[in-house]
């Protein structure tokens, strides 16, 4: 039995197969409409999340399966002090597969050790969020046609943004990848990613402070939110906040075929006027999130559709 704890749990070849399946689901959704008839997905969400929970649930419902679960720790037995180990043993008796989100890092790992059903890590604190990374990879591969030979701009909060760290770890496994890190000094990529991942594997990258500097050369721009509370002082925030807001004017500097991705939710870092630009891919990314989760559920349940 397999679980998904980290995006690196799958080899590049396994990821290719998973994404091929997701693309087949995209092309022939009817073929998969009853693939999970009689199967139940439990969503164990110890902290609130709109997109991730609904995306998993939509994925199961699209394939004829059922869903159950809770959406906050207060509405679960955790409020009575039940351990993750006990909860998963109980859920294993009710459901065929589960997705777990927990504020404590490593909670899904504890769950998979005691589980008799496949466990999907749907986010554990600042640690891992593998289905977001799989979503990002599928979006890039589907819309750019490749995961190699790419120059990728990562913009915003690169210090605390787990999606960015996870995406870097996943993309460095492909050939000819180059990164441009676009962030204020306070929110630079931490050493444990820069040195332990990029430098160690000789992955080319540069760091810039202004988005305009990077835009003209990118194949892909991955935006994240710059939060005010991350800055040391108000003055720096006011001075720099506009550097990281993508608007129509800045988009004129970008190549015709550059994609804009964002893990969402967006606040104001991408101006609404960019939404209609054909290069804005963040809502299509949400749709790919459902396809990859459908493919993941089928793969972990070992269900094959001819």
């Amino acid at each position: 039995m397999r679980h998904l704890m980290s995006p690196l749990d799958f080899s590049v070849e396994e990821l290719d197969r998973l994404m091929d399946l997701a693309n087949d689901i995209e092309a022939h959704p009817g073929k998969y409409a009853h693939a999970c008839d009689g199967k139940k997905l439990a969503t164990l969400f110890y902290e609130p999340s709109t997109r991730t929970r609904l995306s998993h649930e939509a994925a199961m419902l699209n394939m004829g399966g059922s869903i159950m679960g809770f959406s906050s720790a207060e509405s679960s037995s955790a409020a009575k002090g039940e351990s993750v180990s006990d909860t998963i043993r109980m859920i294993s008796c009710y459901a065929d597969i589960c997705a777990i989100r927990h504020p404590k890092e490593g909670a899904p790992m504890v769950a998979c050790q005691k589980s008799s059903i496949p466990v999907i890590n749907a986010g554990d604190g600042g640690h891992q969020h593998p289905t977001q990374t799989l979503t990002d990879l599928l979006t890039i591969r589907s819309l750019k046609g490749r995961l190699d030979h790419l120059k990728i701009g990562l913009c915003g909060d690169l210090k605390f943004g787990r999606t960015v760290h996870s995406l870097i770890n996943a993309l460095v496994r492909y050939h000819d990848i180059e990164f441009v890190m676009i962030s204020p000094e306070e929110l630079r990529l931490p050493d444990y990613v820069r040195k332990d991942v990029l430098d160690k594997q000789n992955i080319p990258y540069k760091e810039v402070v202004r988005l305009e500097e990077a835009l003209p050369t990118l194949d892909l721009l991955y935006m994240t939110r710059v939060q005010k509370e991350r800055f040391f002082n108000e003055e720096d925030y006011v001075r720099m906040k506009d550097f990281y807001i993508l608007d129509k004017k800045k988009m004129t500097l970008a190549p015709e075929d550059m994609l804009v991705l964002h893990p969402l939710p967006r606040v104001n870092e991408i101006s609404v006027e960019v939404d209609d630009d054909p290069r804005a891919a963040y809502f299509r990314q949400v749709q790919y999130g459902v396809y990859i989760r459908m493919a993941l559920i089928l793969t972990l349940l070992d269900i094959h559709v001819d």
């Binding site: 490593g106 909670a107 790992m109």
Partner: protein, 146 residues
Amino acid sequence: MIEHTLNIGRISEGFVLDHIQAGKSMDIYKYLKLDKLDCCVAIIKNARSNKMGKKDIIKIECPIDIIDLDVLSFIDHNITVNIIERGEIVAKKQLKLPKEIKNVIKCRNPRCITSIEQELDQIFVLTDEDNEIYRCKYCEEKYHGK
């Protein structure tokens, strides 16, 4: 002045753990789970040492293959492990860093599940042998063996 010395007899088969930092022998006793062994164990605290001033020594009389001593290399590099057979030192054991250490150190990350989950073992996995880096099995918090 009368000099007091304490003599502990020879062991015929087992280990002598020498050059333990003074005062640490009970920690080693605990990590090696020597309390679980049904054999003769001598703990010598604050023995005189030319090299260290004071040191601790543990003598364990047991078959030489029943204890996994590798955890010692994580706890203290300087410990010497003498293997005893027929009452003589026959070899000095080379210690390897253990692939996994269980319930020796605690994860320092307050956001780690180990901080709240009941009776969860504290497990660290060796991820970089050259730099002696262990990571928490659950949250991947880094811990330097050195």
